[in-house]
Subunit: 451 residues, 3 copies
């Protein structure tokens, strides 16, 4: 019963570690430079999905086994809570799990092992796997699934008492075994000591010449350890991502699921098929997302906003309630205040925009000077004229105005209420009669306002 | 026979009113601020579809029953021919129809009652309903439909002579009734006097505690009034829109239907799945719509035009024959003359462009000064240089030219044939040798052309 | 056997000509101005698909039979290797083939005849047709297909020995014939002399009043010539393009096939459904194509590039390895060097960009002065500031910099290492204190830098 799963000291659960297997090259991706687990899926590297699942069970230690391109993988996850385990040679999943077990030393508990290429696996499924392992006091528990078409998967063989006794790979399976629908889903919980013992016993005597983690399961069963299974419900959770077509298919599925979820929460998405909303985006009710939008993971959008069509909200964008962005506008790492609008052909990068600001068509925050990125601040109620370029770092004060085509140079902040015009932008002067102006031009020089 | 349906005086048909039920909040939309019937579907508020259907039968009076958020609903339809009927409390469809009947006073004819959330219902179906009512001299006629899957709909119960005797809601239906495929589609014609009598008799004795219009139908039948049915053919006409996912599904369907219709008329749409053409758009033959276009309701496009990719034609846009707009260009309330082109990164708002005008990349009509919108006029054969900003109100004469990067300030019209350059734009002067220029610079001041 | 198919002299195969039938108007396209074979499909005119297929068998002569709108068709294929055969009146496919046979004079070999509206027909299928014709020493060979639904196609009637004896059109077919699944696919090889004889014998005694090429096949069979058939495998190869809806459907299919092929080669395409990659595009591995991209036929993209979202790469674009283009950027006939970037709101036309160049947001190559297109050159490591307009012809030297909002005028090349700013752009001067500057302004005139 649940209470028995807890350590007596501190009421904490029995120790649990998690290991994500992320060492493979992923040959079928045909990549020259990118390890499979760094392939991008809906704005996240593939590995991030597995890590999220692993974290969901709140492990005491989180290991990621890396090998091919490990410097790149480690660099992509600058997270001190991850313990990187290096598998120097990629000798198979059994070997990789063994490396993780070694790294755990005399860790007293269990190890959850997850493949790095199952982005659709749900946290609640993994939690169910762990819970079952503990409720049954098993020493190994295998996640299984009944596939309508099991082709390609390892089949789960059980004895008459329902105990797992073997896992037979597709290519080794005789016809009667091929009819078995229950397959190995690619996630396991092992008692660490049992895993260590079992991986010592497995051999790479198969076509691939690899050490299989499934063989470790079978060894454990043969030696009399308690091997359980946990059956997941939705077979679509274990669609693997092996090549670029899989990536595209998975992306479409995830983007659809995300869009459906936002719609369920009161967001209008005019065209889910042409909308790409990443993970962990929050959108308030009554916001309308028009066609052709890409919204990066983690973006925050308030209620009653209008986004799109043709809009890219990149990482770090925050739109307050009632903000509107659309028509060939890109926003990056910028806060837009309530009811502020940027509706046409603008690039807003590294900015902070107050409420009720109007950003005219063709506005650009020139945030990059070739060396570093700088920030732009626009205060409440300012009016940025069409085609204005704001060279960061710079600020535009409350209620200030920039004329169409103004180039506001760096550090030349526009004070509250002031209007600036021209290239470079200067405070407005009273407009003269154009002919008069023309006559005086040689003496006067530049200085005409543009609005 | 048909002639009997006409009033003797003026050869006019018997009086007909129409009422659209639009009072509900639409809880499943999860909207904080927007009544269901104002949810946008393909550029129109949902209610507009029902009003269009109602108008199609040419009613003598058109009533819309409003309740939740009625100020917003009324504001969205500033149409003096609509009679707004306020249902103070939303007590159900029967109550709403009763409110409409009350508002009709002693109106001598029939009342067509339509739900406000059936955007796929066709005008010819509604006309068929009215025609049947009159041909059969019925006192109530119910629109029905045979659904392949009737789940969720009220079932139509008829006696052995085929006369409607009951409508049983899903939740009240025993198993044998659930097997009935003919369902209530949500549109009715009542003789007004019969409706008034029937709604007096109905009670809110159901789970929702609401007065149902179906109960009024059943009461009329029970009292011996002639109750007929009209069976619509295409069951997809009665797909209801209840939540945001329904909105998205309906939108995709309507956009597809519209695209198919334009293709049938000789328009090439390269990718109907990524093209969003609104209602009542006209497009001439041989026009090509490239991928990623949004075209608002009512836009007019001539023949042999090219639109897209990446183009937003907003309300009020008119493209004459052979005009071309594309590549991150947005047009709003602007007329573009024959063979005029705006092919790159432009915003054209509130303009009138003559024929054979070339709009360079990055052109902006600065139509808004923060207070009001002003207009821009460009005459035949003008050449607008790249990156030109035209600050409205302003005009560019026949054959005139603006240099790249010119900012044409407001009211500084460019005369026919003239070339203007600079910020702010001034008539061009002969270009000097740059070095010579450089030496004279301090004395001369600004005034160089950019072309 | 194969060796017998070769002429003895020069080891060359027996003479082979190919004729593409492209004379029809294509009434169902409802076009006022465009012959059917010029309708655009995935960036190519429809006819180009048939010509590609015909060329694949390496014919000694390539004929295209034109009629309706032939000037336009010929102008669209300015290829001296095509022999244009004019069919003055469009009297049917038999007549068109006869025109081709006439034009061949005493050509001693075979003629491959292809319809111009079968864009999905594969070269290997056509090669198989020709090979079969020659291996069987046939005098006529008909491409056939077993359709799961043969409705609308001419049925192939064979005698008990499997010899083709008749082709019966749908409308003339009795019920038992309609059940035949093997249909005429619309491609043929004729011995030229046999074709000439047969077309003399056919009559337009059918509903359309046209001469059918199928009648020529049947006449040849009746006269005892050896008539063979070659069965293609994939029935989807003979989906005809007759109207605009067919065009859209074919386009979606071709774009999908192309995307799948690139993914198989190691390219990530985030969203194949919203990506439009034309024919003959080459893309290196590890390049990522984000949503909303249109890539024209023939574009070349290196490895490790990032393209999109919202990007249009037009004809003549070449991206070297590691180049990045995205976010509302259009590139035309421009080479981008290694690791160069244009990531926001830019139009790059007729340019040559060296490696490691940064193109700022809102950059425009003003390549068109209303009369002709000119080129822009940017050398290695240059930094183009936001909103820069480069008026071609112009060049920016190695490591040079343009300030935000600079308008670099034509022929005013920026030397290597120099920084230019302003409108028009001039070499930068040291920035003064703004207040000091302001006081001196009347005397000094323009000349302030913008960065």
């Amino acid at each position: 019963m649940p209470s028995q799963q807890h350590d007596t000291q501190r009421g904490k659960q029995k120790a649990l570690a998690a290991a994500v297997l992320a060492a493979g090259k992923g040959t079928r991706m045909l990549s020259e430079a990118i390890p499979k687990v760094l392939q991008e899926l809906c704005g996240w590297p593939l590995l991030k999905y597995a890590i999220r699942c692993a974290r969901a069970v709140n492990p005491d230690r989180l290991l990621v086994v890396v090998g091919f391109g490990r410097e790149k993988v480690q660099a992509a996850f600058p997270d001190p809570s991850i313990e990187w385990v290096v598998q120097e040679e990629q000798l198979g999943t059994g070997h990789a799990a063994g490396c993780a077990a070694e790294a755990l030393g005399d860790f007293p508990g269990d190890l959850l092992v997850l493949n790095g290429d199952l982005p659709h696996l749900r946290a609640k499924t993994v939690q169910g796997l762990v819970n079952t392992h503990r409720e049954l006091k098993a020493e190994v528990t295998v996640l299984t699934c009944c596939k309508s078409d099991p082709t390609g998967f390892g089949r789960i063989i059980k004895d008459s008492s329902g105990r797992l006794i073997n896992i037979i790979e597709e290519k080794d399976a005789p016809e009667d075994v091929k009819k078995i629908k229950e397959v190995n889903a690619g996630a396991y919980v092992f008692k660490v000591a049992v895993l260590k013992e079992a991986v010592q016993a497995i051999k790479p005597d198969n076509v691939q010449g690899e050490y299989y983690i499934t063989d470790a399961v079978v060894v454990a069963a043969a030696r009399g350890y308690k091997v359980a299974t946990f059956l997941l419900e939705d077979e679509r959770e274990i669609e693997q991502v092996s090549d670029r077509a899989d990536l595209a298919r998975s992306a479409r599925r995830i983007y659809n699921e995300i869009a459906q979820e936002h719609m369920r929460r009161g967001v209008t998405i005019v065209s889910p098929d042409t909308t790409f909303i990443g993970q962990d985006v929050r959108i308030g009710p009554d916001t309308v997302i028009y066609p052709f939008c890409v919204i990066a993971p983690g973006v925050r959008i308030g209620k009653g906003c209008k986004v799109g069509p043709f809009t890219h909200l990149r990482s770090g964008t925050v739109l307050a309630d009632g903000a509107e962005v659309g028509n060939f506008t890109e926003v990056k790492a910028t806060f837009m205040g309530e009811k502020s609008k940027a509706k046409h052909l603008s690039y807003l990068g590294d900015g902070h925009i107050g409420p009720n600001v109007n950003i005219g068509a063709g506005t650009i925050f020139a945030n990059y000077d070739g060396k570093k990125k700088e920030r732009t601040f626009i205060e409440e109620g300012a009016f940025i004229g069409c085609g204005t370029i704001l060279i960061a770092p710079v600020s535009v004060g409350k209620g200030a105005v920039t004329g169409a085509g103004a180039v506001v140079t760096k550090n030349h902040d526009v004070p509250p209420g002031q209007t600036v015009v021209g290239v470079p932008a200067r405070p407005i002067k009273k407009e003269k009669n154009r002919d008069e102006e023309s006559q005086k031009e040689k003496k006067k020089g530049k200085g005409k306002e543009v609005r």
